[in-house]
Every structure is written in structure tokens, then in C-alpha cells.
Symmetry: C2
Subunit: 501 residues, 2 copies
């Protein structure tokens, strides 16, 4: 006897609520691991994650799930817009995850829990040999993963598609070519101009006061703290389990307050996106961000386009003077603006200036490509890393902590994620151009009330969750196809003015 | 065909690993809620807990579990000592939990998650009316719970048994009578003596420095930070998911460093107990503490018998002088010892001196008794609370924040827990007497190396986990039945010396 569509939808809601519950529990376990859990607990947490990820796998790929989704797919036309999208996304996940053998899926989750703990320690101690065997296993798994998911594709293309549907090396090669062609000469001209004196920003800024600054920053960009908290981790990140529970983290450096400052604004951009997911998407699989690149377009938009703007610096200065009266004595708005917009190649991606940022991404992209095609062995990764840093940024890497071990992505199992950062940065510049057609962005930032900007982003992106594929969502928002020259033009204009080119 | 015992044991191990995984996940969700989660996330967390606690309930009470445990119970004699105990404990839980209707069990878990969030806010805002409806539901549930669990018993006896097997009002009434009879005259004589001037301890002690003090304290009592972290919460507590993952929390008060100091040592005592559970009990249901009163006997032992001793104060003073040079200028060891051992009734249980502490517990015990027997309505709880504070402590309660809302136990669903604190305090004094027969406790504390004390407690209590019923465990350790006069004698001797009676 055939089931009614309403019954099937009810079963779908039960399935989704379970999936979300297990996702939430595993998410909190990871968050806890990165924030407060004692280091020695990693192994026992692995046992727990093994149990929970087995259930998650079953929920995603089990026979019952398959039958239910197949039945709903057959009646797609009867479903409302949201449910239809949810079912097709789940069906896609079902078909995709089913290709990964269950034992491998669980073992990989357990491996990542351990790898993350090892990486945390290895980074602090600059101990690549400790992390290397984990990286080898992660690369090996990702090669198998690519073959399971899309044997017809090149392995790295199969991985890219996980983070950005449809993204390929062909697209990225062309994108990075544009960036290289336009940015490298610009960076060279900036370098010839020399740097302003920013010694004032490398005094001691007590952490306790920096924590207060974080509170102010979150409020300044419009984050409702009822639904968003802040923690402290080695590597800043954002996690969200619903629009009512989002967390950002930061890392404080005593002699570099701008590091945490822009981390908070960057992660705050991710948080705003999650916090403004549409109410109608709550409790569905579609709430939250559409893809990594769209997510990064928001975080990089807040970090750079908002956070490093004249207007934001104008409002930031009195707050810094209040929190750090001694350190900020005699510092003018212009000095702070220049310090926040230094364009000078450095070793750390998350602290890179806007101009050289994409070169950091590009070198990771190229290394990942080589790892996946097999032309680079994990054992050679540090030397390959260091060579590329020398080539693109002109710098010597003094230790692996500031080199190959600096990011948490690989230890988290993400290969193919990095390009999203560059793509997101470029998306942000094009969205800014569109936004400026109807919103006086500079005036809003200078006024300290970002509401018109938040509203524009809510309407065009945030409230839509994962209702659309990322490329489609971007084009809806920008009302045009993606064009990276918006980004290169934005950078050229901004940095020409700052450095008087 | 009958299954082999080894197969049954293998099934048991799978069951236990699942139970532990769900317990761990739910534990971390609660910990996260109390530490970092944004307040607005409570409702969504409730949805997750509903899903997980349903599985926990199924694991504990399902048909398969029942069959497995029954089969193992029938072969108890074939099982090794640890497995035999584990099976009989699980069987007890199975029979017990099965009596609670599943929907009620899940609904109560969801209620507690919400109640905890409401209580946190209500306490800060001293808003009893906000919490009252939750307290009403919690009391109503506990009445039903008592009837489900042990309809033949008085309701409050049924609840007491949950936290301390076999404990009854009859035992407690007799115990509190001894305390009242011996302590009330002592408290009166101390009061007549007047208090030393302790103004120095109520200056401003920066939180950042207090955090460093916590690190020192944890190390001073022998906690291995590899397996134990510290967080910050409204109400200090300890949680442990295995001997490799224990967390304590504290609450810092700017003008009262002793509050957090003794919280850390108290919670540190709980943590030490969990951290030293026997290796052979790992991954079983028997790791960790035997009961609440045994747990409190350890925490109160460290807080008071160790932490407030001459020797500990002797080692603490230079650390305080290092961290707070200005505030501690001119403070002598004797001044600090007196400040740490002020016996003067106050409003807050967790900050109470050793002498009046049990009166705080007694008043909660009496109120719980009345709530359960129905002679006190929840609506009248604040006025009944305030009247008892006046009667036993001679104080007026200025607001509910410092009155009926001060503890987290009721919002956490625990009715019948409080007596464990008094019982534990008394256990601790008797254990001290026994320990002193073979260990030079004062010398160990004064030397700064607690190893002989930690070893004694490990051998006699900590490593045994839940292998024995609490009363049995205590008698093994003390080599004698429980006798509350050890406690009253200890207090009399200590405070007679301090106040020169």
C-alpha cells in the first residue's frame, strides 16, 4: 500500500531532526576539543565519535533513508519549494556518502579527531615529523575519497566539488591567472613605496583588554550575543549548530592586537551569515551557509571591506584609546588606518594583507593539486611549501609552525577548501559594487550602524541558506556572472590611494 | 541455541561503549551549555538532547538490553569480579529506569536543559518568578519519580536512595541531630570571640591573576593538566567523561579571591577522584566516583582539611605575594590563615565556613523533605528559605540570588543530593583520622608534595571506582563504621585553637 505524501514528509522531518541532533552533538564535541577539553581526552573522544559517526552514516545512507528519499524524489513536484530542495540535497548526499565504505567513513572521523589533537601540539612545537604520518593518512584517504565520489573526474576536481559544487581546476587556474597577472605588478609597486612606521601597534596590549575589544567588535558589526559566543583557540574558526547557536573563536597575541581584531571581524562575518539564516529554514538541512566560498565572501567582506575601511577605523580609534590609553597615545586615525592596511608579504595567511592574501591561497592550491595528482609526496611538503613562499612572497620560512603547520584545514581533513578563500574574497568585491548601487556603504560604516548593509546581505544571501547552489546564489545577489576583475580593480584602487601610486 | 558467555560479554562491551558514548556526548552538551554556549541556543540544544536521551533510554531499558543482562545475571558466577559488578549495576539501572515512562524520561531531560538556562538568567537577575514554574515542574516530576521507583518508600527516601544507596531520612535526622547538638554551641562560642580584621582580602584581585592562581592551585594538589581543564561558570562544578577527560569550573569574584581559590581546591578534589579511577575500570560503567557523598568527602577533604590547613596556607602565601604584590603587602601567614578560616555565618553555602556549612545543608534538607511530603508549596519556598536562614544562621536574605536561587542543584533536577555534602564532610574527617595512623598528613602538606596523601586515597578509594556500594567503600577505607563525632571533634579542636576557646 502506498504511503501518503504527508506521511513521507513526517518521516523526513524525523530523519532530519535526528541528523541535525547527531551533527550538533559531534559539532559540540569538536568545538569542545578545540577550546577547553584537556589534551589527554582525545582518545576517549575518538571512541565516542566512532559511535556517533556510525549512526550519522546510517542515517545518511541506510536502506530506510534510501527508500524514503527515493519515494520523495518520485513525488518531487508535489513538494513545496523548501522541502523539494531539501530532499534533492539529501538525495545527493545519500548517493555520495553511500559510495564511501562505512568502516572507512568511521575510521576517518576517528583519525581526524586524533589528527587534530596531534596538529595542535605539533604546531605549538613546530614539530612536522609528529604530524606527518597523519597528513599521509589524510592524503591517502582523500585520494580514495576522490575515486569513490567521482572516478570519472581528476581526483582534485572531485575534492573541490565537495566544497564548491562544480568548481574545477580549469576554472581556478584561469581565476588565479587573472589575479597573478594583475596583482603581482601591483604588489611590486607597493613594495617600492616602503612602509609607514607602525611600531605603536606592537607594544603590549593586555589580553584582558583585548577580550573587551572583541565584545565591542562583535557588537559593532551587529552580532546578537544572545545567539553567538566567543571562545579562544589556537586557530580562529566559526561553528554554528542553528541560527540560535553560533560560536566564533579568536587567538590573542600580546604584541599584535590587530591579529585578533581582524580575526574577530572575519569570524564575525561567518557568524552573521549563520545567524541570519531564514526562519523558514530552521530545523531543515538547508539552514546556514550555502558553500565555503559564499561563506568566505561574507567573512572576508567584513574583515577587509568593512573592518579595514576608513569609516570603521574612525569608530575603532576612540574605543582603542579607551581600552589602551597608554599604547594609543598620540596615534591618529591615519596612523591606525595605515597600520590596518599594511601591504607587506608575511608568512601567515590569516594575518596576510589583502594584496598578498591570494598568493597564500594560490600556493596551497598548487600544493594540494600536486599532492592529489601524486607529483608531490607528503614527506616533501615542507620543502615544497618553503620554496613556494620564497617564490611568491620572497620570504624564508624559519620554522614549520609558521610554514606548513600553520593552518588547521589539513588536520581537519579538508583538501580542496583553500581556494574558497580566494574565490570568496573576489565574490565580496563584486557584491560590494552591486551593493553600492543602492546602499551608501561608506556612510553606513562611518555612522556605526551597519543595518543597511546587514539588510542587503540578509535579503540577497543570508536568509536563503542552502536553497540555491552557490554559483546561482551569487549570481542572484550580484545580478551578474562572476567577474574577478571587480576584485583586482577594488584592490588596485584602494592600495593605489594608500600607497600613493 | 544458547549463546556462549564470551559472546554475551562481547555484546555487553558493545552496549557499554554505546552507553558511554551517549553519556559523553550529553555530558559535553551540558558542559558546553554551562560554559560557552550562547544563551539563545537552549531550545535547539533541547531538541538534540531529546534525540540523544531517547537513545540512552532505549540502551538502558530496551528489550535487547533486558535479555542480555538477564542472561548475564543468570551466569553471574562465571563472570570476573569487575564484570559481575558491572552487570549487577546495569541490571539495577535497567529495572529502575524501566519504571520511568519513556516519554516522561525524555521530557524531563528536555525540561532540565531549559530549566538550567532559565535558572542561570534568573539567578543573575534575582528573578524567582521566572524560575518558579520550572521548579514546580521539577518537584512534580520528582514526586512521580519517587512513586515509580519505590512506591513502598516515603517519596523523599526514594529520592535520597538515588544519590546514596540506602540513605534514609531516619539516618539523616539522627546525623543532623548530632551535628546540631555539638556544633550550635560551638558556633555560639566562636561568635562571642569576634572576628579578626580581614580587610586585606577584599581589595581588588585582578581576574587574570586569579586565573594564574588557579593553575598553581591545580598543580599544588597534584592535578595532571593533560587530563583536566578548567572553565568558568556561574556555579562551579566538576564533570568527567573518563579518567582522561575531567573538567572543573570556577567563578571569579574581583574582591574575593578566596571564593574561587577554595572552589578550585574543592572541585579539584572531585577531579582527583575521577582522574585516579582504576585503569582496569576504564571503558566500563564502574569508572569514576562511587556516590555523591563519597565524592563530596573528597572535595570537602581537599577544600577544608588540606586547603585551609596551616601547611597549605604556608605554601600559598608566597604564591599570592608573587601574583598580588600590592594587595598582599604586609600580610602574614597568620593573617592569611585566619582569613581562610573565618567562622562567621554567611548567606552562600559554597562560601560558608566549615562550622556553619552543615547548617546550610540542613536547611535545604528540611525544605526538600517538606516539598516532597507536600507540606511546603513551591510558591512558598523563598519565604521558607529566608525563615530558615534567619533561624539557623541569624541572617536576613536580601534577595533570592543570595537565597533560594543560589544553587544549581534544583534547576539540574537534583532533589535529595544536598545531604551528600554534609555526609561527605563528615566522612572526610573520619578518613583523616584513619590516614593519620600511617601518613604524616601535616608534614606532607607543609612539604608541598601531597603524594603520600594522594596515594592513600588512591589505594583506599579512588582506584576502586564504583566497585562497591558507598557505605561499604567507606567502611573499607576507614576500617570502621561511620561515626559523625570524628567530624564534630575535628571541628571543635580546629576552631577552639583558632578562636582561643
Amino acid at each position: 500500500m502506498e504511503q501518503k505524501t504527508e506521511e513521507l514528509i513526517e518521516q523526513l522531518r524525523t530523519l532530519v531532526s535526528k541528523m541535525r541532533a547527531y551533527g550538533h552533538a559531534q559539532g559540540v564535541l569538536y568545538y569542545d576539543a578545540a577550546t577547553i577539553a584537556p589534551p589527554g581526552g582525545a582518545e576517549d573522544r575518538g571512541k565516542t565519535l566512532a559511535v556517533l559517526s556510525e549512526v550519522s552514516y546510517e542515517l545518511q545512507t541506510g536502506e530506510e533513508t534510501g527508500k524514503l528519499l527515493a519515494a520523495l524524489m518520485a513525488r518531487r513536484e508535489e513538494l513545496d519549494f523548501i522541502t523539494r530542495r531539501e530532499v534533492s540535497e539529501l538525495w545527493r548526499d545519500y548517493e555520495r556518502t553511500k559510495k564511501i565504505p562505512k568502516e572507512e567513513y568511521i575510521a576517518y572521523n576517528v583519525l581526524l579527531n586524533e589528527a587534530d589533537a596531534v596538529w595542535h601540539k605539533a604546531k605549538v612545537e613546530s614539530d612536522w615529523p609528529a604530524f606527518r604520518p597523519y597528513m599521509e593518512k589524510i592524503v591517502a584517504f582523500n585520494k580514495k575519497l576522490a575515486a569513490w565520489l567521482a572516478p570519472e573526474k581528476k581526483p582534485y576536481d572531485a575534492l573541490l566539488d565537495q566544497y564548491e559544487r562544480g568548481l574545477t581546476m580549469e576554472t581556478l587556474d584561469a581565476f588565479f591567472d587573472v589575479l597573478k597577472e594583475r596583482l603581482v605588478p601591483l604588489i611590486r609597486r607597493v613594495a617600492e613605496k616602503g612602509q609607514p612606521d607602525c611600531a605603536f601597534i606592537h607594544q603590549e596590549f593586555p589580553i584582558e583588554q583585548q577580550r573587551k575589544l572583541s565584545d565591542w567588535l562583535m557588537s559593532a558589526i551587529g552580532i546578537d550575543r544572545e545567539y553567538c559566543s566567543i571562545g579562544e583557540t589556537e586557530h580562529p574558526f566559526t561553528d554554528g549548530y542553528s541560527k540560535h547557536d553560533v560560536r566564533i573563536t579568536t587567538h590573542y597575541h600580546l604584541d599584535d592586537p590587530l591579529s585578533s581584531l581582524f580575526s574577530v571581524v572575519h569570524e564575525g562575518g561567518h557568524a552573521l551569515y549563520e545567524l541570519h539564516s531564514g526562519d523558514e529554514l530552521e530545523d531543515t538541512m538547508l539552514s546556514g551557509g550555502a558553500s565555503m566560498s559564499i561563506h568566505e565572501s561574507q567573512s572576508r567582506f567584513f574583515e577587509n571591506i568593512i573592518g579595514r575601511s576608513r569609516g570603521f577605523i574612525h569608530n575603532l580609534l576612540p574605543k582603542l584609546q579607551e581600552l589602551f590609553p597608554q599604547q594609543m597615545e598620540g596615534v591618529t586615525e591615519d596612523m591606525l588606518y595605515r597600520a590596518a592596511n599594511i601591504a607587506e608579504p608575511g608568512l601567515i595567511r590569516t594575518e596576510a594583507d589583502e594584496l598578498s592574501y591570494c598568493l597564500h591561497v594560490m600556493l596551497r592550491y598548487e600544493l594540494e593539486k600536486q599532492l592529489m595528482e601524486g607529483s608531490l609526496a607528503v614527506a616533501d611538503l615542507p620543502s615544497a611549501w618553503n620554496a613556494k613562499v620564497k617564490e611568491y612572497l620572497g620570504l624564508d620560512v624559519p620554522d614549520d609552525r609558521r610554514g606548513v603547520l600553520q593552518d588547521s584545514h589539513w588536520s581537519g581533513g579538508s583538501i580542496g577548501y583553500f581556494p574558497s578563500y580566494a574565490l570568496g574574497s573576489a565574490y565580496g568585491a563584486q557584491l560590494l559594487a552591486k551593493m553600492k548601487e543602492t546602499v551608501d556603504v561608506d556612510a553606513a560604516v562611518a555612522s556605526g550602524d551597519l543595518t543597511p548593509i546587514l539588510d542587503w546581505l540578509t535579503e540577497r544571501i543570508w536568509k536563503k541558506g542552502s536553497l540555491y547552489d552557490p554559483q546561482e546564489l551569487f549570481e542572484q545577489a550580484a545580478e551578474a556572472p562572476f567577474d574577478p576583475t571587480y576584485y583586482t580593480d577594488y584592490l588596485k584602487e584602494k592600495y593605489s590611494a594608500i600607497y600613493g601610486l
